[in-house]
Symmetry: C3
């Protein structure tokens, strides 16, 4: 068939069928819903926020030392205006879907925006502890600036700390859009609901999954492919465990090596423990545990546990 | 050495050596081959196609409710024109390489383009079942729109369903370029040749690999790091297994948890089975099997199989 | 609170706190440090370099056969100018931080730039062996051009070979920024310090980690999720092992299947060995070893070693 002919005769039929489907799925009023717009705007604002936290590194342009104040004022005004609009939109959109009545969504939106921006200096401060932990923990790291410019955990953790703030302020949709942006860029998937302390370092990072109800203490280090997940998303009756504590707690000073899997909402990895690569853990381990896979003489791999300083088998 | 001096005296030598190498490798006629252009055009068209499937979410701009028809007409015309050109080019390019004689490649190209666009409403319909499955399967999911905007499996599966259509229409090169775009964005690597039923959900997704000759039934759910692969790319004589069935079949209603590896063209995971995390499977399992890794008292990890409702060891 | 009011009254306080923090962290002179600028410039130059290596595939625009010389001259001049500036900046920046005196950093920068550009034809040549290895090793590969356009290992290995050249020339920061760009795009994390021979193929690739002090021979093939890492980043006294050989050696003709983990600076995988998926290796294996996970009758998984042609257990 001739393409022009087909475009004139048949394309409109495709358009109409698609239009019907779109209307049927998104049952929202004209001025919202589809008006939510694409994700690219949110990505752009996230990039600007990262530029505020690390001017000259994550910013699009050079920033001279004597321009920092001017640069920060300008970009924070810009973020307040553009992001303010988006935060209001998602609150209104969600309120309409949830049939809120007389809801103060505009007020909550403005409040969330202001709280986020006022928290940025604190977020920067805790991120500097994360970056210092990367420097202390990776023999390949030679300079702090190299870490900011090239370690994927900086993007992932900075985005997480922004998204977590918005999550606790109950901003709809945007925290997950932001965390998936970082996931796409780095392969590190941190749910905005997770709670993570200072001096957090993720090396390499591809394949890391940190679930919504994880609690991670201070000075924790994890490697690529580590899953901190749920044993099953369903309870024994097959009902999804929405709202439950489903993911583990990791106490202070724990190291978790590559591709270890730690599952379950009641699983606690005790303070100071070292979890070896490729291990599979679904029960709590006491403080200072060391769990490793070893190859035995006969070729079997054995998962061993021992206390630091002792040789107690698990 | 002074850079300007070097540029004037020596740069042209580098250019000429590179030029010779490029000519030697791509032995194609002037008007094609290199004329294939970069991948960025294909990426742009893929983004437009995703915008057609989910206007207001994946589209670059806002789309008001009363603008949907206008938006879809406009962008589909644009896609028909631009993508039509690319599809014709890859058919011609491949035909020339394959020394086709009197080949109807232009006709096949137009036919493929029209078939793809006419299939878009069906593709959208099956994607809505995938999105519903994500909602049903993930306790962290609270709204459908959040899934479309932030779940990487939506990008990956939508791109797969478009690329698979082009693959079955034997469009050269473009399906793989599209699937690698999604792989790059999401860490989910689905070969366009795989066959996948409705209500398909991938959670987190980083590291998932689904091979060319996989067949996946309806209502299947898989997690990050799952490989559905080949035992070996070579037969016992070391000849690559081009054209053979090399990857497993996954029947309806199967769940495969994180980092499980299932290999082989004769391996069938029976309907309703649950495959635990970190398992290693190279043989078929009957319907309703449950295969799990457990830690034994002595520290060994044990891969156990049992039938639902029974305790039969594998 | 009203947003405008807050912007007028309180935003400047946030700016000033951030400004103080930024100054405190980056203790550099006005004309450098922050002047290092963002990573996007480096990404753009890397894209141009990849376009030089594969015009018409990685280039942004079409390149006709009779335009190749013109295209290459133009873009290489452009790269020399723009990248020259960046290389000089990072050398100066690092020198200032390291308190070098009378350092010839400008000269070293120009020298590094010229050496890189003059090496591009050699880099292209070795990349063509990598691409041929991909074709030979993957049954799903049907055409060389499809590999260049859609295999993530081409981006990852091309970027690695450029970054490794800059690393050996001791260019600061930029090699790691480049390798993390490829990591972000492909999920393949190759440290620029690693040494890798010709005919190197990575299939799928998500989650691959290749450490700084790895040495990989010729004709090596690895799959997704393979870690070539360090046993521990610290020595027994807890001091980071900066500068030590920490990562394994992989000899010629080795195949390493998905999610295998090989650790340690003294671990050598002998020539011609095949390392099965999901294996865990921390000791050297002799040439022609075959190490595989097998499921035993009782459900345990067993890691077996045998010599090719023999049945010697490990």
């Amino acid at each position: 068939m001739d393409l022009n002919e087909w475009m004139n005769s048949s394309l409109q039929g495709v358009v109409e069928r698609l239009e019907r489907d779109v209307h049927a799925t998104f049952d929202v009023e004209a001025e919202d819903g589809l008006d939510l717009a694409g994700r690219n705007e949110i990505y752009g604002i996230l990039d600007d926020l990262l530029g505020v936290l690390f001017p000259g590194c994550f910013s699009k342009e050079k920033v001279l030392k004597n321009e920092i104040n001017f640069y920060l004022s300008d970009i924070l005004r810009h973020i307040s205006f553009r992001f303010g609009k988006h935060v209001r939109e998602v609150f209104r959109y969600r309120c309409k879907k949830d049939n809120c009545i007389n809801c103060n969504c505009d007020e909550r939106a403005t409040d969330a925006l202001i709280k986020l921006i006022e928290a940025l200096p604190d977020i920067r401060e805790i991120l500097m502890t994360d970056i210092q932990a990367a420097f202390d923990g990776d023999p390949a790291a030679k300079y702090l600036d190299e870490i900011i410019l090239s370690y994927p955990c900086v993007d992932a953790i900075a985005t997480y700390r922004i998204a977590h703030m918005l999550y606790t302020l109950q901003v709809p949709i945007i925290p997950r859009v932001m965390s998936e942006r970082a996931h796409s860029q780095t392969g590190i998937d941190i749910h905005p609901g997770a709670q993570i302390g200072s001096r957090f370092f993720i090396d390499h990072g591809t394949g890391v999954v940190i679930g919504e109800t994880c609690r991670i203490g201070k000075n924790v280090k994890i490697y690529q492919g580590v899953t901190l997940g749920a044993t099953s998303p369903f309870d024994k009756d097959g009902v999804p465990r929405k709202g439950e504590k489903r993911h583990p707690d990791i106490e202070d000073d724990v190291i978790i090596y590559s591709n270890a899997t730690i599952l379950g909402g009641h699983t606690v990895i005790g303070k100071g423990s070292v979890i070896g690569g490729n291990t599979w853990i679904t029960k709590s381990v006491p403080p200072n545990s060391q769990i490793f896979i070893r190859s035995r003489e006969n070729g079997e791999t054995l998962q061993e546990a021992q206390k630091k300083g002792g040789t107690q088998k698990k």
